[in-house]
């Protein structure tokens, strides 16, 4: 495409500028220049380093912009962290994830791929946990704000003084204690109201879903590993124990039904 070609030209030019600046920086520390000691050399080196940094920055910015333009969906660009964990888009991490999610081969690379997947599940869980925690932290901050705002506007009825208020001795101290207790009660109400708003928001529900999903995926990976290890070592596995308990439960049901049938038959029918 013409647009892509022009962008590539620009990128190449910027990369070349950066390379030249770096080359000049390297020359600045060459043996000839090194002979001139003192502030002049230091100033020159500093200026060249600055130019190098700026040139490479321009290149990297343009590179990121070009990739974002080509990968319109969020997370598709390799510069968007949201894309690092999923197989959307093209190139880079996406290709790696697609390969990992692809069909396993029978005899090679199986354990390695499983290990990488477990690592990925852990990263996904950690990311979902941080996302959830961030939402909750924002909720708390909003709760503090509402509380602060309401201090001047609250019309809630004051509650009777707490039991300690009478025990504090002087009237002023009792008043302080009662006011403190009411302040706490007021904060509690304000916080619960704000957090209830948060907990019913779409953002919260989505973060909660993601966290649960990621946590279960991670646990499933770890459990599968534990089962493989137990099988390898000849130890009983959780799945085997569950099978035993399922059989036992079914047998108890059958025995109960038989006992009931026997009892009903001897009693002439009826009953439970």
């Amino acid at each position: 495409m013409a647009g892509d070609s022009a962008a590539d030209d620009t990128l190449f030019r910027l990369w070349r500028d950066g390379a030249r600046a770096f080359s000049a920086l390297a020359e600045g520390f060459g043996p000839d220049q090194a002979e001139g000691a003192g502030a002049r050399v230091a100033r020159g080196a500093w200026a060249q380093a600055g130019a190098t940094f700026e040139a490479w920055s321009r290149f990297l910015d343009a590179l990121a912009e070009a990739h974002s333009a080509r990968s319109a969906s969020p997370g598709a660009s390799p510069f968007d962290p949201a894309g690092w964990l999923r197989g959307a888009g093209e190139g880079g991490m996406a290709d790696l994830w697609r390969w990992l999610e692809g069909p396993d081969f029978a005899d090679i690379m199986g354990e390695e791929r499983r290990l990488i997947r477990e690592g990925r599940e852990w990263v996904r869980f950690a990311a979902a946990l941080e996302q959830f925690r961030m939402l909750v932290a924002e909720g708390w901050l909003r709760a503090f704000r509402r509380f602060a705002e309401s201090l001047g506007a609250d019309d809630g009825a004051p509650e009777p003084p707490g039991p300690l208020a009478e025990a504090t001795g002087s009237e002023a101290e009792a008043r302080d204690a009662a006011a403190w207790d009411r302040l706490v009660a007021h904060w509690r109400r304000a916080a619960d109201a704000e957090m209830a708003r948060l907990q019913t928001s779409e953002a919260y529900l989505a973060a909660q879903r993601d966290l649960l999903d990621a946590g279960l995926a991670l646990r499933a990976s770890l459990r599968a590993r534990a089962e493989r290890m137990a099988a390898f070592l000849g130890l009983p596995t959780r799945a085997e124990l569950d099978d035993v308990h399922a059989e036992l439960h079914a047998l108890r049901r059958e025995m109960r039904a038989l006992k009931r049938a026997q009892r009903d038959a001897s009693a002439g029918g009826g009953g439970r």
């Binding site: 924002e138 708390w140 901050l141 909003r142 709760a143 503090f144 704000r145 705002e149 309401s150 201090l151 001047g152 506007a153 019309d155 809630g156 009825a157 004051p158 707490g162 039991p163 300690l164 025990a167 504090t168 101290e173 008043r175 302080d176 009662a178 006011a179 403190w180 207790d181 009411r182 302040l183 706490v184 904060w187 509690r188 109400r189 304000a190 916080a191 619960d192 957090m195 708003r197 907990q199 019913t200 928001s201 779409e202 953002a203 529900l205 909660q208 879903r209 649960l212 279960l216 646990r219 499933a220 459990r223 959780r238 124990l241 569950d242 308990h245 399922a246 439960h249 109960r256 439970r272």
Partner: protein
Amino acid sequence: MHPRAEAGDELAGAMTGGGGGGGGGRGEGAGPDWMGAFRASARPACAMIEATRRMIALMDKLGEARRRSVRIAETPKDTVWQQGKVTLSRYRADPAVPERRYGPLLIVHGLVGRQSMTDLEPRRSLVRRLLAAGVDTFVLDWGNPTRADRYCDMTDYADHRLGDAVEAALEVAERPRAALLGICQGGVFAAAHAALYPERLAALALAVTPIDCHADAAAPVPGRGQLNLWLRSLPEDLVDRLIDDSGMVPGALAATVFNGLTPGRTAAKYTADLMEIAGDPDALDTFLRMEKWLSDRPDQPGELAREWLVGLYRENRLATGRLSLDGRPVRLENISCPVLNIYARDDHIVPPPCSRALKNHLQNVAYRELEVPTGHIGAFVSPRGLDLVAPAMTALLAQAA
């Protein structure tokens, strides 16, 4: 606007002190008198001294409490039936009221909390009040399910085990029919049992019981019913995966979820609230007893949890007649005994509409609703809740006698 962007704007407003909805001016002298008194009397040094004094008092009291063990559920009772981990106990009659005039009444809790809640302490004991009214009272204890119980489902609890316990109580009490008081999840067990075996029950009382788990969706109330919303918003397979993963729903997970429903209250509980009651021995004792009850939360067997969370909360099977126990459909309209339906006005776990929906399913039975001005647990552990619940229970049993 994206919710996160909106949140960011609000935070930016908060940081700069800008407006952002709500609140309003904070002029000098505005607000209620108690706030004015607080600001006017804000003497930091005195406040610090007072806080320190409370802290020391609290440490003293907690130290005393450690030395003497915290006891709950002390009303004398005898185990009259046992099946595996499940036990049925009969409370000894109140010495002042030796005649067992009413009953037998079986108190049926769920597996979300232990049965000791209805006998938390002598001053806050529904059991003691019932005994004082002459009610022959039994309590069912489901025990502590382990992973070995993961395949136990609602048929095991609401049909088989509850049925066997009812039979045992009838035999011990030498009566033809029993009454059930089902609480929360235990209320669903009791209602299902009453629908399947109407001939066995003389009366049915349900308390804070979710009958129609979608009844709150039409008019959601802020701060209530988040649990319902959360479960409805989860993808269909996620709850299944959760149960398959752990085999059980851990009690600790349930506790975390419940604490998360009221984060402000939870944050204040071990700080400001505890400091507030530090100088009140009775209040501190009650607090510690409540803590003991809360910390003893059993795990839910996986298959029971699946029917509870997916079948009832997500798919609303009880209210829509699609719940089956042991292959038999549970039809609430088959309930034939007098019914008392207790709901808590400020219940944030089971919104009142979810409980009150029961009346839409009953046909030609004496039905009474009782609103208790408390939260979910307060109906059974607060004196104002007990003042209403205990007499209503006695009246129901007298009606059924």
